[in-house]
Structure formats: C-alpha cells, structure tokens
Amino acid sequence: MAAPAVRRWGLRAGHLGIVGLFTVFTAFPFYWMLITTFKRETDLLKRANNPFVYNEPPTLENVRILFEETLYGRWLANTLFVGLLVVVITLLLSLPAGYALARLTGRWGERLGIGIFLTYLVPPTLLFIPMARVIGDLGLQDSLWSLVLVYPSFTVPFCTWLLMGFFKAIPPDLEEAAMIDGHSRLGAFVRVVVPISVAGILTVVIFTLTLVMQEFVYALTFITAARNFTVSVGVPTFLVHGDVYFWGSLMAGAFISSVPIAILYNLFVDRFIAGFTVGAVK
C-alpha cells in the first residue's frame, strides 16, 4: 500500500478514536442513569454482580416510587414554571440591554458590557445570604416567585453579554435601512434585528432553562415546603434518607429531567455554538 494511503487511514483512525472516546465519555452518564433506573435493589447492591448490565430482570419499581411516593411530577411542573418565567424575564431585559450596549453607547458600551459580565462571575454562594434578606423583606419565603425573582440576577447579565455579541455582528446598515423605510428605532429592532438574531435568542432560551434546572443553592435556601421544590432540590432531599440512597429512583429522576435538555441542545447545537462564537471572531 502506498505511504499516503497508510497515512490517510492512520489519520482517520486517530480521528475516529478520539471522537469515539469523547462519545463514550459523554454518553456514559446517560447509560448509567438509564440502566440503574430499572435495576432491582438486590442487583445494585451485590458486589459480585457486573455493574454495567442487568444481572436480574429489570423492574419499574424505582419509577413507581419516584412518581407515587414523592412529588416528582409536581417538582417538574414547578421547575418548568420557574424556567419559562425566567426565560421570559431574561429575554425582556437582556434583548434591549444587549442591543443598547452593542449600538447606542459608543465606547462606553464595551466597558459596561465587561462590567455586566463580571457581575455574572459573582458566585451564588456569596449572594444567597443578602438575597435571603431581600426575599424575606418581600415576604416571598417558600414561594416559587422568590426563584423567579432571583434567577434573573445571574441569567440577565450573561445573556445580555451574549446578545451584545450577536447584535454587534449585525451590520448597522440593516437597522438604518429599516428606519429609512418607515420605522422607528424600536420598530427596526423588533422587525429586523430580532428576527435576524433568532440563533442568539435560542441560545438564551436554552442557556436560561439549563441554569434554572440545575440551580441548587437558591432553591434550597428559599424553598422549604416539599410541594414547592424544584427538581434539583426535591430529588436529593426525598430520595436520600440519611445515608440510604434510593439509587434507582434518584437516577430515574435525574434521567427524566436531563433528557429534554439534551434533546433541546442537540436540535440547536449548531446555532448554539454559533451563539458562543459570534462576535468573538469579529
């Protein structure tokens, strides 16, 4: 065989090998959650068993526990409720803010943009104490509305910064053309800039939903009643009794709530990546 052919096949094999490794690495947690969900307790705990396969027939018992003996359905609904509201609030605030930073403030735009990004870097573990006071004063303890109020504090800065990059990549000519064609600046923004930025808006939606679904500290601090929990707090609170872990149900809970996000990511993965790199290059 000729040397270039060998080289080509070598490169190909190396390429596939690396991709394969990463695939296994990222898919393994899903596989683990899925098989554990349907494993019997005895199968799980016997040390002689091969942990990667079913040694005893699968069961639906864990899923039954999750849905019948905990408020999992309710938690899912809570999470969705908070998530959607936070998405709406985030879009309402960060679309105009990002646009303003990209267009209207001249050289101050960039500095403000960096400033806003820096506020995103302040960790929730530092903020939850002062936030608790605010929530207390507003009388929102143990209410989902406390989360609706608090979550935008970290989604808005990041999404503003993200959208700013998007808007900067849109030529100002387009808005100016729309303004000459008969619209105000706001009209040009709504009819031309927003439709062109669909990719950015999708990125914001997915990103915000993900953050809300995984958030733990605020949800644990501000919510006390079980029926108000979100998935990220409810599942570990109710399926870990002291040092007894209900592994099957835990994994079922984690699997069910992570799959929709994974699907969402995969549907929009190209646009999502564009969302993070646009503006970086230009």
């Binding site: 030529p171 000519d173 053309a177 729309a178 303004m179 000459i180 064609d181 008969g182 439709p195 062109i196």
Partner: protein, 343 residues
C-alpha cells in the same frame, strides 16, 4: 418630488470636523453627485440628509421644509446603501414590500406595487428568493426596487456600484441613469469614483476636508477647476501643476502634446520635455518626464491619444506645447483659481 438644500451644515465627531459648513442645493429632478476621496465628508453629508446623523450646525431642507428634527422615516426619502442592506431573513418580495407595510398600505394593494417596482428592474422572477441566493448585480437591483417602491421625494445612493465587478458596473451605471431620467426623482449620489461621477451626474459637487470645493456640471468641474484640489482630483492622470514665479500653472496631460501635433495653430506655449518613460495603454500613450529650460525639473505627464502619430521616445528631450487657453492659473498660497498671468 422635492429639492434638497443644505445651509451651512456641519458635523463634528469629537475633535474631527467631518463636514464643515456645507452649502448645497439640488434642482428639481436633478442627479447630483457628491464626489471626493474617502474621509472627505460626503457620506456623512448624505447620512445627515437621510436623518441618520444629526448635524452639529446648520439646517437641512427637503422640499423647502427644515427637516433637522424629523426622523428618517418622516423625510420621504429612500436610500440605497453600499452594502445594499437587504433584510436577510426576508424574501425579495417581502424586502420590497417592507417600506409599503411600514407606511400602512392596505394589504391588497401591496403585491401590485411590488410587481411594478420589480418590473422596473427586471427582477420579477427573483421575488421568492432570499437575498443570499442572489448575485451582486441582482442584490443591487433589489435594493433599488425597494428604494423606488414607495415613490420617495428624494433618492439617496451611497456608492451603490462599488461592490460590482468592473464590467457589471458599466452597465449598471447606464441602467441607473436611464431609470433616474425616467422617474425624474431628485437624486443624490455619493461616490469616490470620478468616472461614475462624470458619467452619471447632472452636476458634481467635489468635496474635500468636509467642504464643497466646487459644484458644477461635469464639463465645468473638469475644464474649469476652481482650485488645485479639483484640478488634481479629476482626470487620470491628474492635471500637471508647475510652479511659475508667484502662481501655479496647471494643464491637463491630454493638452500637453508634441509641438508638431498641434496642427490647428493658435497661441502655443512651448515647453521642452525630457521624457523618462513611455507607457503604452492601447488607446493612449502616457509619457512621464520633467520639463527643461524655464521650469527645469518640474515633473509632468503627457497623455497622447494613439491618433496623435508624433514619434516619442524615452530618454529624449522634445518640444511639447500647450495652447494658451488650456493653461489654468492658481494662487500659490490658497490654491484657488486666479486670472491668467503670462508665465
């Protein structure tokens, strides 16, 4: 239809005076070209007329009405951008319909109007496409159709041909002018390309350093330049400028011919010309060199049409001549045109 007038309009960007007290007015239905090198303020002036920039001083009038405080949408203008600025998420049809919808035209009347504008530019078959599926020339037509569709009082065009390749540009220029003549709408056209300006404009306003240096018909600005800038900017190669006592003497390369080539006689000024290089360009020969004798060392260029059969050779000094009426005189300090003085 309307005229556009600028009264002592200026624009300051920080420390930079982009437009410096410009007075300008178009005539009814005129094709006025703003010509100048990049950074001369021509685009800023156009954007102020469009309402995209606010003047820091002076007034802008459209149709006799001061429009300084009107937003772009209220000025009854249409603009074609250098980038064409087609809305990428809309089909050609929706792009052209966009200004009509914004103006609140009844839904039923829109298709007819769009088709009328599309027919003007021969783009009826492109109406379903998206801008990214169009060639440069097609995009330019769509941009023009979008501008014309709501029958504005004034057209503003910002280098609309600069993104086309050379061949297409010539035919687009031709179409553009025919179209403007047909609809007769006052048009202001910005370009840095003197060929475009000379070919298209009823009048040309030559700008430099934020000021209008001269405004006149193509023949006026070319034949009777108001100052050394205009003389040097127009023409290729530009006007020769030679220092003589207290004035600058200017003459066009195509008027600087071998003495024997001036067959019609007349009052000739003879200048010995040492040729250093000859460029053969097909239709013309361009001769580079320096004068000798009275203006020893002054570098000048001559342009001989191939119909001038005189023999020229690099390395030789030959007698060249300019007709006395082709000599233009400029003040050495201000660069402005002065009266004739015998050099």
């Amino acid at each position: 239809m309307a005229t556009v007038e600028a009264r002592r309009v200026s624009k300051q960007f920080g420390d930079v005076r982009a437009v410096d007290g410009v007075d300008l007015s178009t005539r009814e239905g005129e094709f006025l070209v703003l010509l100048g090198p990049s950074g001369c303020g021509k685009t800023t002036l156009l954007r102020m007329i469009a309402g995209l920039e606010r003047p820091t001083g002076g007034e802008i009038l459209i149709g006799g009405q001061v429009v300084n405080d009107l937003p772009p949408r209220a000025r009854r203008i249409a603009m074609v951008f250098q980038s064409y600025a087609l809305y990428p998420h809309m089909s050609v049809f929706r792009n052209i319909a966009f200004p009509l919808k914004a103006a609140g035209m009844p839904r039923a009347e829109i298709p007819q109007k769009v088709e009328w504008a599309a027919a003007l530019f021969g783009i009826e078959r492109l109406l379903e496409r998206k801008p990214r599926q169009l060639s440069g020339g097609e995009r330019q037509r769509v941009a023009l159709a979008r501008a014309v569709v709501r029958e504005p009082a004034v057209f503003l065009l910002d280098e609309p041909l600069s993104n086309l390749d050379a061949k297409l540009r010539a035919s687009a220029r031709d179409e553009l002018q025919q179209f403007q003549r047909r609809i007769g709408t006052t048009t202001i056209y910005v370009t840095h390309d003197q060929v475009e300006a000379m070919g298209l404009g009823d009048r040309i306003a030559v700008m430099e350093g934020g000021r209008v240096r001269q405004i006149g018909t193509p023949a006026e600005v070319y034949d009777e330049p108001a100052d050394t800038f205009v003389a040097g900017f127009l023409g290729s190669p530009p006007t020769n400028l030679v220092e003589a006592a207290d004035v600058l003497v200017g003459f066009r390369p195509e008027h600087f011919l071998p003495r024997e080539a001036h067959t019609d006689g007349g009052n000739l000024t003879t200048l010995p010309f040492h040729i250093t290089r000859v460029e053969y360009l097909g239709a013309d020969r361009i001769l580079y060199g320096a004068l000798e004798g009275r203006f020893e060392g002054a570098r000048v260029v001559a342009r001989l049409a191939t119909t001038v059969e005189a023999k020229v050779q690099a390395g030789r000094t030959q007698d060249f001549a300019v007709r006395a009426r082709e000599l233009k005189f400029f003040d050495k300090v201000t660069g402005l045109r002065t009266t004739a003085r015998v050099p």
